[in-house]
Amino acid sequence: MRFALSMLLAVFLQPNINGLKDMSQDIKIKKGLSINLLGGAEHTFHKEVASSTYVIYPTDFHGLTPKLVIKEGAHVKAGETLFFDKNRPEVTVASPVSGEITEIARGERRRVLSIKIAADKDQKAVENETISFSEASAAELKAYLLASGVWPFVKQRPYDVIANPAGIPKAIFISGLNTGPLNPDLDFVLRGQEEKLQAALTALKKLTPGSIHVGVESKENSVFGTLDHINLHTVSGPHPAGLVGTQIAAIDPISKGELVWTISAQDLVIIGELLLTGRYNASRTLAVTGSSVVAPQYIKSKIGAELTGIFEALGVKDGEQRFINGDVLTGKKTSKEGSLGFYNTQLTVIPEGNDYEFFGWNKPVFNKISPTRALTFSWLNKRKKYDLDTNTNGEHRAFVITGSYEEVFPLDIFPMQLLKACMVKDLDDMENLGLYEVAPEDFSLTEFICISKQPHQDIIRKGLDLMQQELG
């Protein structure tokens, strides 16, 4: 009876089903695994640490070939263009601070590896004319964002690269919640930024005929709860519920030929401030996390800032440590002397695991996370927090076990089959199995639990690169 009723309802609602993706949805993710680590950031701010040098790594912008417009010794203002993309000259990257270019490091075939800037005592910024973003046309807005150097914050799928400015996305996706290991709490970080967020959203709404979808944990607590021009969705469940790829798949998955843009919530703040004030402010609210940080908490900093000061202020435990720009699943390895990456809003420090373990493969394991129960006991207490190190806990092997990735992979995609298609460079299979829909980060959990210790994110990245190169 109930079944018949629901069928009847479904028939009546049929005309609305296509419109469903434009309505607010309640997304419940069941498959996944939340990795609880020690060293979460306290909800307090450490006072800002001044940094005297800033470094921009062109390698942070995947697929971008830098063409420098400045020379060593030149003086730049904050917001002044440092380089542009050789393939798309309109895409520019701006200096986070004003200062002198002290060093341009080059690698093989004179590829630019890093640009070092010695910051001025008195910071000067490029004063762009403000644009009336509620009245400007799409073309004017695009040109404004491109020229001021904030365009690289807009990324696109397929391929997970900086958005092609000529493209028109069917929708824009923003994740308003983080579920990854020790990720910053966005409700906390974004508090008080409503005006800037709204400015960015109002402008971006003009760049898509579709919707701007925002996933949040709860409409009441999120700063997005009161904002306009967005479709708000509540998202719950374990990691990767907070990854934008998971939300895209649940709300309006990407089909062949379609284009969507994704922007991280904290990057919206920078775009919004630019639209409101005309200034590019590269400020970041960072969560400094990890079991090796003495006092993990939040700190304000800027893109490219040197990390030594931050780590010294918050304290790092003795011993050999891994410094990560980002979180433990998707971050980039750096060092204590490194600099904050362009897209990063989190720093993580965990112990290196450069040691042997006697009979490590058959002993009962209590201090590591495991998706199985093979004498591993993390299933006993799901809330327990772990102090994981960087040991691989085993060697690289061929794919053997099946069915385990599916347990932590919520997309309607066969993960192992797609990985194998990428490994053998079968373009048809890559397309058919859904490579358009994913970014490397969507495969970070399967990589974490992989018994064969395969580099899933790297395999997907290379697959995407190949596809972009072959199919454009």
């Binding site: 005929p209 042997y356 591993t376 794919f399 309607d412």
Partner: protein
């Protein structure tokens, strides 16, 4: 020792013997390898731990097999004990000695030959020694009759590892389950030895015991009796079959321990419960069909299939190698179906075809290994159809793709 081994490892770097040394080193110590790119932390499980879990689930079966080898041997000579008690008649020193002297050599030959070949291939091809053979090596002695000559086993293992696995590229790449390839090689290469009633009980072949008894020992299995339409001739009770006090391949007899092993593998999430459950359902389904054929009177007692067809459908699960095959062999992730949906079909047909072959095979009343090998071949096909369903769904969605050009986008924004 840790430091010493580390220094030796460093000195082996780049040497072609490095894989051989590393295999032994990583057996003692989990390596000091750290992550570079990608995830900076990794879960606790590796392939060694996974394989080790399967071995743990096999140890009780192996121990039971050792005692049972002795028990069957002495029972054949002296007759089955009256008022059977496990402690008095089964777990005894003399049973253990007979079992150990017969089963241990099988185990040693299996591991010795198999691992030697793995090491040689690893050194030649310059890859690490993969752990696949750790499980195969213990499976092999459990699925062969106790009196299998060691030279036969050695040849079969060499064939199985080289042809069944290494030519495909080693662990993870093979199409057929290596342990079953070894079993199949034995069966087809030495059929007169591997079938019949002599090989299942130690001593039956060489008539060791002629001095003690007027008859040579018969080591007929229950399925053997049934295939000859001599259902009334065996004296094993249902509890004998369930607990495993019956003749058969070394590890296959105790349905109870296999059931516990299966539950352990499901609990640890190492083996697929989907395959196990659907295989049981498949076997029951085929058994019920045969029972129905008998019940409807479509077949008379004159038929040579009568006894096997009339055998209660659920008893198929507790005799022969069906339970062992379902729990330990069908669930091999490399040769089985790789999609969750495919696993249901794959498992079901293993159970279904096993019982079918068991009933219709005139020469040798067992079909599990053939059914699993057959489904190994079909597993990629099953997966293909499961994956294609997903691909079709995606292509259908792509027909409604929303793609904007400058004009269509401006129209859209105006209407909104």
């Amino acid at each position: 020792m840790k430091q010493k081994l580390h220094e030796i490892k460093e000195s082996f770097k780049g040497n072609k013997w490095a894989p051989a040394f590393n295999a032994i080193h990583t057996f003692l110590y989990t390596p000091n390898e750290v992550t570079h790119s990608g995830t900076h932390v990794k879960a606790a499980d590796d392939l060694k731990r996974t394989m080790n879990t399967v071995i743990q689930a096999l140890i009780p079966v192996l121990l039971f097999g050792i005692f049972n080898a002795g028990y069957q041997h002495y029972s054949a000579i002296e007759g089955f004990p009256e008022n059977f008690s496990v402690l008095e008649h089964f777990i005894t020193w003399r049973n253990f000695v007979v079992g150990l002297t017969t089963v241990l050599p099988l185990l040693i030959v299996s591991y010795g030959v198999g691992l030697a070949i793995e090491f040689v291939f690893a050194v030649i091809k310059g890859h690490e020694v993969e752990e696949g053979y750790l499980v195969t090596g213990i499976l092999v002695p459990l699925i062969v009759p106790v009196d299998t000559p060691l030279w036969m086993l050695a040849i079969a293992v060499a064939f199985g590892v080289v042809i069944g696995k290494e030519v495909f590229g080693g662990t993870g790449m093979n199409i057929l389950n290596p342990a079953l390839t070894i079993r199949a090689f034995l069966f087809f290469a030495y059929p007169t030895w591997m079938s019949g009633d002599k090989v299942w009980v130690h001593g039956a072949v060489d008539g060791l015991t002629k001095a003690n008894s007027t008859d040579a020992i018969s080591g007929e299995t229950i399925l053997g009796f049934l295939a000859q339409n001599r259902a009334e001739d065996y004296a094993y009770s249902i509890s004998d079959m369930f607990f495993g006090f019956i003749p058969g391949s070394v590890g296959e007899t105790s349905a109870l321990l296999i059931l516990l092993g299966g539950l352990y593998l499901i609990f640890t999430k190492i083996a697929s419960w989907r395959i196990m459950l659907s295989a049981v359902l498949g076997a029951l389904a085929m058994g019920l069909i045969f029972n129905a054929v008998v019940d409807f009177g479509w077949i008379g007692t004159y038929s040579k299939f009568y006894s096997l067809m009339a055998f209660d459908f659920w008893k198929h699960l507790i005799v022969g190698g069906l339970a062992f095959g379902i729990v330990y062999m069908a669930t091999d992730p490399v040769t089985g179906s790789q999609t969750n949906k495919g696993k249901w079909f794959y498992g079901f047909f293993i159970g279904f075809i096993s019982v079918m072959i068991r009933v219709f095979n005139p020469g040798y009343p067992e079909g599990v290994f053939l059914a699993i090998l057959l489904m190994n071949v079909f597993a990629p096909t099953i997966d293909h159809y499961v994956v294609q369903a997903n691909v079709k769904r995606r292509k259908k969605r792509a027909e409604k793709a929303v793609i904007y050009t400058e004009e269509s986008a401006s129209l859209e924004t105006q209407s909104a």
